[in-house]
């Protein structure tokens, strides 16, 4: 039975229509992702379900929760439902908690209200709930106040409050938006685990498509108060029927066309534009006690970096890593303790003229402008440094260059939207034609589609005016889109730097790897040729690696059964739990202690099961050290990789390959845990989560006709990958390709599966070029 059914819900506030005729449902235990841009009515949908609407709102339609119409229910009945049957997690963990109450009291409050438990009982329950949310009382006592906790811990408390009564529906409204990527990954994993353990339904409201795609069973896309598309996640990712969905996808994955950074040969030998050397910045902490001395916090600790003229350097790190402090130091706003900062060879502290060559764009489009000034005065402010007023042509030109009209200069800032304000901020930064523009989280507060536009604008302006950017952000997808070079900052130090593609492909520091792993990503379900290529690249690489690791096994007959037995079992109780434990935890030995408590028995059992697979094939489990070898082979076979990529680029169907990848990935992960592949693991975890659910696989197996009707090749793939189609396999092991029987991807996936589990090294190595030749 459907847990929540919303039928024809419309809402207007003071006559302005907000929601238009929404209809959707949530099944028990289902994760429904609600995505849309700001202003699309996501949050008000949640509030309508809770009947916590702002004054002046009028709603129509029915909200059936477990058979009860909440829209028609009386306030006392609603109070009983809120918190007990429906829990809610809000975006801002600081404001969602009362700063004057301990976390224990706040969690216990819900329990006391709904159960009438004694304070003591309620506190005991609260302790248990907090422990369930990974805040054990031994480490975080109930007597802590919210300000003593980190953002992630606070959000766990908020979640604990929401699930204290074991609600049947949990609504998470942008619950991870205010958090760092790594914390976000942990909270998402927690939510997923709770949903699995408690069997509650989760309504996950987010603007981040990647977050929704990685968690949700079904995605509902909202636009201007209406549901534009509502599909199971894989189908939505694959089809994207509605143009708005497509728009969201494109924007999420958007990369502006930009010229590559000038190479060393092209730049005249004048040295870097910005040179930061061994900069140290310290803040004095408040004295803990009147008689003790005050401590010192090193916000920036010996940072050196250089930016060449015309390049874009991205400075990446979590909040509190010292990025913004460094930016302020570079801008000459705060004197530094040690070190040197020079722009174009001139020290920014000694030489005020050097500072005129820099401008900045800040994060908050709403706080960046004096609301009392008109645009003409606002964007002309940097001319103060030059000691003259701006000419009208200069103002007009700056406005035009960022895509606004000259007439806009007479307006006040409130007349502009968030994206337009960021354009104005760029106009203000551009107007004096600086050499360097520091963009401090300049696109973080924007919707994806607006962000894509601003990124395009940045790329275009860089080309037009020869600008150099220092791009400070925590958002890795933006980094990929815009930066030539990346510097990763952690606790005031730069832990890694390099070219963007190099760092993304193979981060050297553990921290950078963790950041990359934690960033939610869109599964590459037909997500454009780039995403597809990435998946296929990995297929090929893994294929080659697998071939390297598996010397001729030569016991096909015996292990065949066992393989089927194991994988069949695997599919039988497909592991909800497997997608729940955060991957980076499992992959990182140094965190093993932390996560021991969340490895449940079920998980241990699964581990043992997986560990049995190689044994079944008479192979050693300890494959550590071979990874490097495999990598070498990979590099050695780079031309095969390239060829195969070219082969797949236009094919448009990569589902089979991905599915195969998931299977192999599972196998690979459980036989060894290579430290180098965290990012990939995380990625595949997402894929795996989508494919390894029992209902899905059952669906695929059970309806071959449907699949066949939809896509004949997919059907073959299902058989090859999941059911072990003997005919196909035999064909494959002889690397004889039956051109009309399957697509390149399918063939490849099947080859991959086949050899990864029981193939031979030589055959795999042969297979790649054969495959490439077959369709090259």
């Amino acid at each position: 039975m459907t847990l929540l059914t919303v039928e024809g819900l419309s809402l207007s506030i003071h006559g302005t229509p907000i929601l238009r005729d929404l209809s959707f449902g949530i099944e028990p235990g289902e994760i429904l992702g609600v995505i849309g841009e700001s202003g699309s009515g996501k949050s008000l949908t949640a509030l309508s379900i809770m009947q916590l609407l702002p004054s002046g709102s009028q709603s129509r339609g029915r909200v059936l929760f477990a058979g009860q119409d909440l829209a028609a229910a009386a306030e006392p009945d609603l109070c009983a439902v809120r918190g007990r049957d429906i829990g809610m997690v809000f975006q801002e963990p600081m404001t969602a908690l009362n700063p004057l109450q301990t976390i224990g009291q706040q969690v216990a409050e819900t329990i006391r209200i709904h159960e009438g438990a004694s304070p003591q009982q309620a506190l005991e329950r609260a302790e248990a709930v907090l422990e369930q949310c990974e805040l054990p009382a031994a480490q975080v006592p109930l007597s802590r106040y919210p300000h003593q906790l980190s953002g992630g811990q606070r959000q766990r408390v908020v979640i604990a409050m929401a699930i204290a009564m074991r609600p049947r529906l949990l609504i998470a409204d942008e619950a991870t938006t205010a958090l760092d990527v790594t914390t976000q990954a942990e909270i998402l994993a927690l939510l997923q685990r709770l949903v699995a353990e408690e069997g509650m339904a989760l309504m996950l409201i987010t603007h981040d498509l990647a977050v929704a795609a990685s968690l949700a069973d079904r995605i509902l896309v909202m636009h201007e108060g209406a549901v534009v598309e509502q599909e199971p996640t894989p189908a939505l990712l694959k089809a994207r029927t509605h143009p708005h969905t497509q728009l969201l996808f494109d924007a999420t994955d958007h990369r502006p066309d930009r010229q590559p950074a000038p190479t060393a040969a092209q730049t005249p030998a004048v040295g870097p534009l910005l040179r930061v050397q061994d900069v140290v910045q310290e803040y004095r902490l408040p004295r803990p006690h009147p008689l003790t001395g005050s401590g010192v916090r090193r916000a920036v600790d010996g940072v050196s970096l250089e930016i060449e003229r015309g390049c874009c350097l991205a400075l990446v790190g979590e909040s509190g890593s010292g990025k913004s402090t460094l930016a302020r130091a570079i801008l000459g706003l705060e004197p530094i303790r040690e070190g040197q900062i020079a722009l174009g060879g001139r020290d920014v502290f000694a030489d005020a003229g050097a500072r005129a060559g820099m401008q900045a764009v800040f994060q908050d489009p709403y706080g960046s402008f004096n609301p009392r000034w008109r645009v003409s005065r606002l964007i002309a402010e940097p001319f103060f440094r030059l000691g003259r007023a701006a000419r009208d042509e200069e103002i007009d030109e700056a406005l035009v260059s960022v895509g606004l009209a000259p007439a806009d200069k007479h307006k006040h800032i409130h007349a502009f939207s968030g994206g337009q304000r960021q354009r104005l901020a760029l106009a203000r930064a551009l107007i004096t034609r600086p050499d360097l523009i520091i963009l401090d989280e300049a696109v973080s507060a924007l919707d994806v589609s607006v962000r894509a536009q601003i990124l395009d604008l940045l790329a275009q302006l860089a080309a037009d005016f020869g600008l150099t950017y220092l791009f400070i952000t925590h958002d890795l997808s933006v980094v990929r889109a815009i930066a030539d070079n990346v510097a990763v900052m952690q606790a005031g130090k730069i832990v890694e730097r390099g070219r963007t593609d190099a760092v993304f492909a193979g981060p050297e520091s553990a921290y950078a790897a963790r950041l990359l792993a934690a960033a939610p990503r869109l599964p590459a379900m037909g997500g454009g040729s780039r995403a597809r290529t990435a998946v296929l690249q990995r297929v090929v690489r893994l294929l080659l690696a697998a071939g390297q690791q598996r010397p001729d096994a030569g016991h096909e007959g015996g292990s065949e059964e066992k393989l089927q037995q194991i994988t069949g079992e695997e599919r039988g109780h497909a592991p909800c739990h497997d997608r729940v434990v955060p991957t980076q935890h499992r992959a990182q030995p140094d965190q093993a202690g932390d996560i021991d408590h969340d490895i449940t028995d079920q998980h241990r059992a699964r581990r043992a099961q997986w560990a049995a697979i190689p044994a079944a094939f008479g192979e050693e489990t300890d494959n550590a050290g071979r990874e490097d070898e495999a990598e070498q082979v990979t590099t050695g076979r780079a031309h095969h990789v390239r060829k195969t990529n070219a082969l797949f680029r236009g094919a448009g169907k990569d589902r089979q390959a991905r599915r195969a990848l998931c299977e192999v990935e599972q196998y690979r992960r459980h036989t060894k845990a290579p430290a180098k592949c965290h990012a990939d693991d995380q990625h595949n975890q997402g894929l795996q989560g989508q494919w390894n659910r029992p209902e899905r696989n059952a669906d695929l197996r059970g309806n071959p006709q449907r699949e066949a009707a939809e896509d004949g090749e997919a059907n073959v793939a299902d058989q090859a990958v999941f059911n072990g189609d003997e005919r196909l396999r035999h064909g494959l092991s002889g690397h004889h390709v039956d051109g009309h029987c399957c697509s390149p991807e399918l063939y490849f996936a099947a080859v991959f599966m086949h050899f990864a589990f029981r193939g031979s090294r030589s055959k795999v190595l042969e297979a790649a070029p054969t495959c490439a030749n077959a369709w090259g």
Binding site: S368, F384, G403, H414
Partner: protein, 279 residues
């Protein structure tokens, strides 16, 4: 121009005009006594009647408006002139020793009520209307200083201030160009409140004999003198009381209207630009 502002400004203008007119002309001389006509009811000659000395109450209200409004206005002026720069200074140097010194000085002034300061000044220069202006004015300084500091602190953390600093502007310039304009709402609202309080404080000071001295008419003095006769001549207390009430109400209305009008969001053409960025 909102209706509120029109009504508020109109009525307060009426009181101000009456006060100014009293400089040139009043229906009767407020210093001439006519004991025979004491406690006269409203008539053509005495529109609002006469008091216990037979003085014309309308004339006294007109003269009193002058005193009361002048005292309150000047007191608010002193408070703003002293308090706003102090508050801006404290906010600009937030966390420093100077900030502490300024704010502790304010606390010190706050510790003495206007009455006490008035007594102190009276002890030095003797009682007069000027005395009450200075006393109420000094009392207003910490009110504005605290308000401005509290209002300016969050503004200093905003990005447009940072942006101004990137443009090379110093703290003083930022305070004047960016911080102060964004505090006008606060200052207008608090200004009207302090103005109303100033009228009441002047009435209070005159009531205890520390403000305007006889025969200078003031609303506060009229109230004070009427208290012994309130049982048989209630209009003596009611009329100046109503005058104070109406002035305060009008000023609050005018203040709110002014705040709305000065807000750029309510200005004409505000909505024209929305949604016009080039793609």
């Amino acid at each position: 121009m909102s209706a509120r502002l029109l009504i508020g400004l109109g009525l307060s203008g009426l009181f101000a005009a009456a006060g100014l007119a009293s400089l040139l002309w009043t229906p009767h001389d407020v210093t001439s006594l006519n004991i025979a006509a004491k406690f006269a009811p409203s008539s053509a000659d005495h529109l609002l009647g006469t008091d216990h000395f037979g003085r014309d109450i309308l004339s006294m209200i007109m003269v009193g408006a002058r005193t009361s409004i002048a005292v309150a206005l000047l007191a608010v002026g002193i408070g703003m002139l002293g308090g706003v720069p102090l508050g801006l200074l404290a906010a600009a140097t937030r966390g420093s020793l100077l900030d502490d010194v300024v704010m502790r000085f304010n606390d010190l002034v706050f510790a003495f009520p206007a009455l006490l300061i008035a007594i102190m000044i009276t002890a030095i220069v003797g009682p007069s209307a000027v005395n009450s202006i200075v006393a109420i004015g000094i009392f207003n300084i910490p009110v504005f200083a605290r308000l401005v500091r509290a209002g300016a602190l969050p503004l200093w953390t905003l990005d447009f201030v940072l942006s101004a600093r990137v443009s090379g502007k110093g703290a003083a310039r930022i305070s004047v160009q960016h911080i102060l304009p964004n505090l006008t709402n606060l200052l207008i609202v608090q200004g009207t409140i302090q103005f109303s309080l100033g009228i009441l404080a002047e009435a209070g000071l005159s009531f205890v004999g520390l403000g305007a001295q006889p025969p200078t008419a003031s609303w506060g003095r009229m109230l004070a003198e009427s208290q012994t006769m309130i049982a048989f001549a209630p209009h003596l207390a009611l009329i100046p009381g109503l005058a104070i009430l109406l002035t305060v109400l009008c000023l609050n209305l005018a203040g709110e209207g002014l705040r709305d009008t000065l807000d750029p969001k309510s200005q004409k053409g505000a909505q024209q630009g929305a949604g016009r960025a080039a793609p």
